[in-house]
């Protein structure tokens, strides 16, 4: 059973109309029946009184001449009335002179009766009227009638009312149906459209307005609301499109600018090399050919010129490399990562035989990427690791790979001088250095190159470091899914990499 308040408006309206109709009909019918009853009662009383008066009038002569036969005959005309049960004629002295009794009824004429009775007795009505002649009371006529007449009249009235009520209630039901057109039907339609809009997110639906009442206004407001929403949607869509176009344009412009800048830096670097070679070549020639003629101070100056030009050459080489890394066409191939790492490790160890260096490389590592670029990448990272392990009695470097959420994460770890993590965001910018050149030499371009290579491989590079325990560089190459989150976390002193990755 649904609670009344949860019923649809349609049935609520119908119920309201029906209840009010029922109540109205009931009240009216009751009043009408009550009035009808009184009217019938009055009519009955008047009718029987008149009959009694007629009988009394018809009987005056007979009573004067003591003609009981005639009195009986007069009374017997009462048989014409269906409901009269008893008729009695009395002399002035109160003697019963004539009697009429309806067949099958068992009533006796009352004795000691007085004139002018008008009363209901049990289920009957009784009347008595004096027989008057020349102002003298010559006798009395008494009539008793059944009220069946009243009952049957009321019954007939009730039946009529019932019939009429049914018709009115039927009419009310039809009226309620008709009313629905103005109230609940538009509301239901409104609700349906609202539902549809919510489900389909299509704001092009409209509800048809039928009338100019409050519901009509509601429908109009609803339509206006939909209109506003769809217009705003359009504006938002346009803005989005514009924004995309703008972003696209800006990216294009930026790319052009970048390309120009790179071309410029390449040509500058390249063109700088020629005069540098001249400085280098002639300063060496000066040293070789005229070294013995120069005093100590001149020798020192010359050495400084040669160191400076060497540094500049290195810087130019690195700049060219960065430029090359950016400009070079990228090939995507399978790389034997372990083998490549081995090769680089060997060349680094060969550079300086004075320092003890342990480089442990995980076996059977592979990667996807451009071999040349990945080689430059590893060269930079392992070179860095080796460089910053200088203060340790022996350098220890680990290169490995772990899988995380379908993506290979490569790492290069050293146990040298780490850095403060608050400078981590400065790490990959060109010419930004976390250590002074006196402490560790370098051009400040290496990690920028690394970052550029990783970028071109759509990967990510990040570092975890501690000044006491060393640094770990992580990177990915062509990660499996672009949105997979990569492990980030604080590295603590005793954190093991394997553990860390698993922890992530």
């Amino acid at each position: 059973m649904i609670k009344f308040k949860d019923r649809p408006i349609k049935s609520k309206l119908t119920i309201f109309i029906m209840i009010s109709t029922f109540l109205a009909m009931f009240a009216l019918s009751s009043l009408f029946v009550y009035q009808q009853y009184n009217t019938y009662k009055k009519q009955l009383s008047e009718e029987i009184t008149t009959i009694t008066k007629i009988i009394a009038d018809r009987s005056n002569a007979a009573i004067l001449f003591a003609d009981q036969q005639t009195l009986r005959e007069t009374l017997s005309s009462l048989a014409l009335h269906k409901y009269i049960l008893l008729g009695c004629t009395y002399s002035a002295e109160g003697h019963l002179l004539a009697k009429y009794l309806k067949p099958k009824s068992q009533l006796a004429c009352p004795i000691n009766i007085n004139s002018s009775i008008h009363s209901f007795i049990q289920n009957d009505f009784q009347v008595s009227e004096p027989i008057i002649l020349d102002g003298n009371e010559e006798g009395l006529v008494y009539i008793r009638t059944s009220t069946e007449q009243l009952k049957s009249s009321i019954k007939a009235t009730l039946l009529n009312i019932l019939l009429l009520s049914s018709l009115i209630i039927l009419a009310a039901l039809l009226f309620a149906r008709y009313i629905q057109r103005f109230i609940s039907t538009p509301l239901v339609q409104l609700q349906k459209v609202a539902h549809k809009v919510t489900e389909d997110h299509d704001f092009s639906f409209r509800v048809r307005k039928k009338n100019n009442d409050e519901i009509g206004e509601l429908v109009e407001a609803f339509n206006t609301m939909l209109e506003t929403i769809s217009e705003q949607n359009k504006v938002i869509e346009e803005n989005t499109n514009n924004l995309e176009t703008k972003v696209h344009e800006r990216t294009e412009e930026l790319a052009i600018a970048n390309r120009e800048l790179e071309a410029f830096s390449y040509s500058v670097s390249h063109d700088l090399k020629a005069p540098l070679r001249i400085i280098e070549g002639f300063s060496r020639a000066l040293e070789e050919d005229y070294g013995d003629q120069l005093d100590e101070t001149a020798q020192d100056y010359l050495t400084r010129v040669r160191v400076g030009s060497f540094k500049m050459s290195q810087l130019i080489t690195n700049l060219l490399q960065l430029s090359k890394v950016t400009r070079q066409e990228l090939s995507k191939e399978k790389i034997d990562f372990s083998k490549l790492t081995n090769k680089i490790a060997k060349s680094i160890i060969d550079q300086d035989n004075e320092r003890t260096t342990h480089i442990s490389i995980q076996e059977n590592m592979t990667a996807m990427g451009d071999t040349n670029l990945v080689e430059i990448l590893l060269d930079n990272l392992i070179g860095n690791a080796w460089k910053y392990s200088r203060k340790n009695p022996e350098a220890r470097i680990e290169v490995g790979m772990r899988e995380h959420l379908g993506t290979n994460i490569y790492y290069v770890r050293d146990f040298g001088s780490g850095f403060d993590m608050k400078y981590a965001d400065q790490l990959f910018k060109p010419f930004n250095r976390l250590h002074s050149p006196e402490e560790f030499e370098g051009t400040g371009i290496g990690l920028a190159t690394v970052s550029r290579i990783i970028e071109r491989h759509h990967g990510k590079v990040w570092a975890e470091s501690d000044p006491n325990t060393g640094t770990v560089f992580f990177f990915t190459l062509f990660p499996g899914s672009s949105n997979s989150s990569l492990p980030h976390g604080d590295i603590s002193q005793d954190t093991d990499i394997i553990k860390f990755i698993q922890k992530g």
Binding site: L64, F65, L133
Partner: protein, 187 residues
């Protein structure tokens, strides 16, 4: 009430004959009593052309005017009929007039023909002709002989015959109620 009268009646019967004779009211009704009552009642149901019907309802009007009831000759009922004297009727005063011989100048409204006049009936009735006079008598066959109303006695019950033809001839209008009650109506 009636039983009370009966007891009283018995008491009177036992105690005094004289009182019995005088107390006509309480005496069981004789044929003459009945006839007197009937006569008085007849007048109520008959209207005379010369008497205004409007006055019938009000006894106070025309109290002085007389309504003559003439008693012709001798009849055993005259003693009782005389008691009707001075009674109000149709707004007039009923006046008993004993006349030895009928004369139109007596202004009789009702003429009771006594038993003694039976022989002169053929002589009296034609003289009335169309005069509005109600003729009454106990003479047998009176209504058939040309009288208006004739008393008859069936057993010990007094009834009456009405000669409607005579009533119409004398311009008397008799109520249908009275006609209904008549033993016989001569038309």
């Amino acid at each position: 009430m009636y039983s009370h009268i009966k007891k009283k009646n018995v008491l009177i019967f036992v105690t005094s004959l004289l009182i019995l004779m005088q107390a006509n009211f309480c005496h069981s009704k004789s044929v003459f009593d009945v006839k007197a009552a009937y006569l008085y009642n007849f007048i109520k149901f008959i209207s005379w052309p010369s008497i205004e019907s409007a006055s019938t309802t009000d006894n106070q009007i025309n109290k002085a005017s007389v309504f003559n009831l003439c008693l012709l000759g001798e009849d055993p009922s005259y003693k009782k009929l005389s008691l009707l004297d001075k009674r109000p009727i149709h707004g007039h005063t009923l006046t008993i007039k004993s006349i030895p011989k009928f004369s139109p100048s007596d202004d009789c409204k009702v003429l009771y023909i006594g038993a003694s006049e039976e022989r002169f009936l053929n002589n009296i009735l034609p003289r009335i002709h169309s005069t509005p006079i109600l003729t009454l008598s106990s003479i047998p066959n009176f209504a058939n002989l040309g009288g208006t109303i004739g008393f008859i006695t069936l057993g010990n019950v007094v009834r009456f015959n009405i000669n409607l033809k005579q009533a119409e001839a004398t311009q008397l209008s008799i109520s249908s109620k009275l006609l209904e009650l008549a033993n016989k109506v001569v038309r």
